[in-house]
Symmetry: C2
DNA sequence: CGTCTATTTGAATGTACTCAAAAGCGGTGG
DNA sequence: CCACCGCTTTTGAGTACATTCAAATAGACG
């Protein structure tokens, strides 16, 4: 076993058999991205499903005015791709970029087909994984509705305390749905509150 | 076949075999809700997965201040439950309510276990369905980030023109992430623009 | 050291909010 | 049939929060 973090991911929801895991692992391709390098850019058709073995990835989308909106920030131990493009073959609308040197494990489409056919439990694993991502995303929407920008900020840095050291503040601001200037002012307020 | 809309749903992503569908259909329980009746209330453990055969359901959550936030509005031909509670057995945080007389088809947990075991393709169907809901939800977040309240309103009534006749405006406002007063003002503006 | 980019700060603006009241609408009972 | 009630929607006035525009400061890197 080369990638215990990946094995852990497969075991997260169900008792995934080791032998089958090892075959799957052997079929993945390792890829390293440098700081600021893109894994996925808008317009591409995505033929692989990436797992973050070590690093930090940001998923953003550009709107009609050319403005960037960060939708997901994910780190080691998580999958982060464009499921829609991966399964439909249509061009992606997303951009996924590394903000530190990041090591990815890539599963291509043929491998996905092979393992779900050969090991039916894989289908269940992905169903549960996607379901969990879906539930998280509903929670995210609820937070957007019910919390102020300041409360969302406090919640975010509580869950990932090192975030502001790891990626530019303007990306964190975008993820929170505010402008960098507003994030700066919120941080100033929070700072002075805790004095 | 009693419920063509359900069959259509099973065929949406894959070529789901009829015989297997018919067995699944026979295991569902039909339930009718009256206007304003709840299907799911916060705190319950959810033992069924509901499919909306005919009607309109609203999924909302109450925040710490006691305020309601509508997260989903779904109509005929869609599943709408709490996947998290259904699969984990934990109490739900959601409230799902009918706003018209609504006919539901309910799959209980044992049936889910039975059909995924007996017909492995079911697992794939649900994986694809949840995946599609997940992709929609990411789109929803992007709209929240990139569109003004007025643009979100226009997009919503374009996709469901009868929505404001079907459910109270304050629920639509909540779904849009604004107050009923603001929705009223937006509607007045849009009205006067088109004169 | 200089340049480029990111972050902070200030001032004015805008959008949605709160509070408060009025108008509209649907159902019930006199 | 009309009066009344409760609930929803609209409107008005003042406020709060995040935005824009613009400039200053701070940091990173060659």
């Amino acid at each position: 076993m080369e990638y215990p973090l990946l094995y852990q991911a497969f075991k997260k929801y169900i008792d995934f058999p080791v032998e089958e895991y090892l075959d799957i692992e052997s079929r993945l391709v390792c890829k390293t991205l440098n700081k600021k390098e893109h894994l996925i850019e808008e317009g591409q058709a995505i033929h692989f499903l990436p797992f973050i073995n070590d690093g930090l990835m940001v998923n953003y989308r550009i709107d009609d005015n050319g403005d960037r909106h960060v939708l997901q920030i994910r780190s080691s131990g998580m999958w982060l791709g464009d499921l829609y493009s991966f399964f439909s073959g249509n061009p992606t609308k997303f951009n996924i970029q590394a903000y530190r040197t990041t090591e990815l494990l890539m599963m291509n489409h043929e491998t996905f087909e092979y393992i779900t056919k050969e090991y039916p439990i894989t289908e269940k694993y992905f169903r549960l994984g996607i379901q969990s991502a879906y539930v998280e995303t509903l929670e995210h929407i609820f937070n957007f509705h019910s919390l102020s920008a300041e409360a969302r900020y406090l919640q975010l840095i509580e869950s990932i305390p090192s975030l502001l050291e790891d990626i530019p503040h303007y990306l964190v601001a975008s993820y929170l749905g505010i402008k960098p200037q507003s994030l700066s002012r919120i941080r100033r307020n929070v700072q002075s509150m805790s004095d």
